[in-house]
Amino acid sequence: MTVFFQYLVNGIVIGGTYSLIGMGMTLIFGIMRIVNFAHGEFYMLGAYFLYTLWAILGLNPVLSMLFTFVLILFLGIGFEQLFLRPLRKESSTSSMLMTIGFLIVLQNAALLIWGGATQTVPTLVDLKTFSIGDVVFSTDRILVFLISLTIIIFTSLFIGRTKTGRSMRATFQDMEAAEVVGVNIERVYSITFGFGAALAAAGGFLLAPLFVISPTMGALATSKAFAVVTAGGLGNVRGAILGGLLLGVVESLGAGYIASGYKDAFGYLIIILVILFKPEGLMSRKRKKGVHA
């Protein structure tokens, strides 16, 4: 039983960062109706920016994280304005392909800049462990979970309480109606994409000290974001938060009890099963068809 709880705790800690990544992707999908294939690349950049700013340049780690968040925010906004905005009138396939192109560019640019070898980022705090019962906790993981939680709360407040957040929700509900009542759709799109990317980057810089980092780490993160978002329901922010925790736990238990080689397959299994049997997501009740009078 102790082993089970240990897996559970480990799963929830990692799951918190999956929630972040998933929230970013679900925001982008919910509002812009496109699947962002470059999502994991923002995650990867988050890790590498922290590595560069902190481990190489020796900047304060908290400042490094803030910098990284803001830099990726602007990278996302820039990409949206230059490359996605011209495609607004096209089918969503064009936008998806554009994000695939960006995925390739970012991944290979990272490969050229930082090299293909894996790197490590030092832990954020002195590594200490303590246990409650027989379940072991380590300070670095606890810290990662707390920061994830803070960002999740901060994001919820941003969407729920600010004017920009209200515009985002209005656009999510009904883009045309939002436009009619004066919401600047273009601005909402840019901010959404930038913010979604920054959330992925946050997942990246939080996990960086726990695992090794490499330029190709994004692909796996994208797939996990897909799993989280599919399980939570595409466009459902609360669903993404729960979906992230769920994926973390399923992976941790699956790797522990079934086979660790397949750890990364569980996410895909979730995607495939959910899409096949409950395409609206695990968290949502069945959506009603549009009302026509």
């Binding site: 490359f83 396939t93 392909l97 290979n108 692909a219 595409l234 895909y268 995607i271």
Partner: protein
């Protein structure tokens, strides 16, 4: 499109004759190898084009069917000593069936959900081939697949060249026929306007599944050819970068046309060979090409050229 009939015939025949003559002129195995690889990529790009270009669904797991075809053929050869002549049909049938299953299950949901499922399939297959050591030999890959042999003749590069050329011509012919039939029209109708397609009695689901089956069958056959040509396969076949390469070929060459994916496949197989010196930048360049062609050359090379030619003839509005 009403070109003079003889001109059309000539335009179709001359390239084929040139292609047939290549091994007579070119005896360099390196060049032949590049051309054979271009042939394999052409099969893959043409088959993915059925999905992206005709029915308008983005399948991001195309490499999975390629890989599955390769593994089925490869395993049959290594484990049971079955030659390509049975292995290839088996691979084609198996991937067709898989296409049917996945199509049937996923086409209730379209667009992004389809992208996710196909993407997931590729990754799951890669993990399975990596981890199922006893069957696939895992990441070490499967070695010793029998090379192709026919009537006691061991295939050389020249033979492989003609073999893949035959497959390419056959597949192009099939796609061309389908495209200009009621089936192709149903595919295009689905892509253009699904509710209207339904209103004129086109069962979208049925045609989406059919398109997917044809597409996955060709990918499986390409995989089988690859397995017996290279005689070594590994889980890397399932890498997303393979699917991405195929997608780039289709988009840049010109989706929805028969010639576009062929042109795309040839360019993107030859290009890396010429760009050896800057091989590190290859994928970066691919990505940039993809991004900028979506922005500035939406239709791809072939349709854009066709337009320019038509413009010169003063038939601006004609449909390509």
């Amino acid at each position: 499109m009403k070109m003079n009939k003889t001109t059309t015939k000539l335009l179709q025949t001359i390239p084929v004759l040139i292609l047939l003559a290549v091994p007579v002129v070119v005896t360099n195995n390196y060049v032949l190898n590049v051309l054979i690889m271009a042939g394999i990529w052409t099969l893959l790009a043409s088959s993915l084009n059925i999905m992206i270009g005709l029915v308008g669904q983005l399948s991001m797991g195309h490499a999975a069917f390629y890989g599955i075809g390769a593994y089925i053929s490869g395993l049959l050869s290594v484990r049971l000593g079955i030659p390509i002549w049975l292995g290839m049909p088996a691979a084609g049938l198996a991937t067709t069936f898989l296409g049917y299953l996945i199509g049937k299950l996923t086409f209730r949901v379209r667009g992004s959900a389809f992208v996710l499922v196909t993407l997931g399939l590729g990754e799951v297959m890669r993990l399975v081939t990596n981890n199922w050591m006893s069957l696939t030999n895992g990441p070490l890959g499967l070695q010793g697949i029998s090379p192709v042999k026919l009537f006691g003749v061991n295939f050389t590069y020249k033979h492989y060249y003609y073999f893949i050329l035959l497959l390419v011509l056959l597949v192009s012919y099939i796609i061309w026929r389908i495209k200009n039939s009621r089936f192709g029209r149903a595919f295009i109708a689905m892509n253009e306007n699904e509710p209207l397609a339904n209103a004129v009695a086109i069962h979208s689901e049925r045609f989406l599944v059919l398109a997917f089956m044809i597409s996955t069958c060709i990918a499986g056959i390409a995989g089988s050819f690859y397995a017996h040509y290279v005689t070594f396969i590994s889980p890397d076949l399932f890498l997303l970068s393979n699917t991405v390469t195929i997608v780039v070929m289709v988009i840049v060459g010109g989706k929805g046309t028969v010639l576009g994916p062929i042109v795309g496949a040839i360019i993107f197989t030859l290009l890396p060979e010429w760009l050896r010196a800057i091989d590190n930048y290859r994928m970066l360049i691919y990505g940039l090409i993809l991004m900028f062609s979506i922005l500035f050359m939406k239709r791809g090379i072939v349709p854009s050229f066709a337009r320019i030619i038509k413009k010169k003839r003063g038939a601006l509005h004609e449909y390509s």
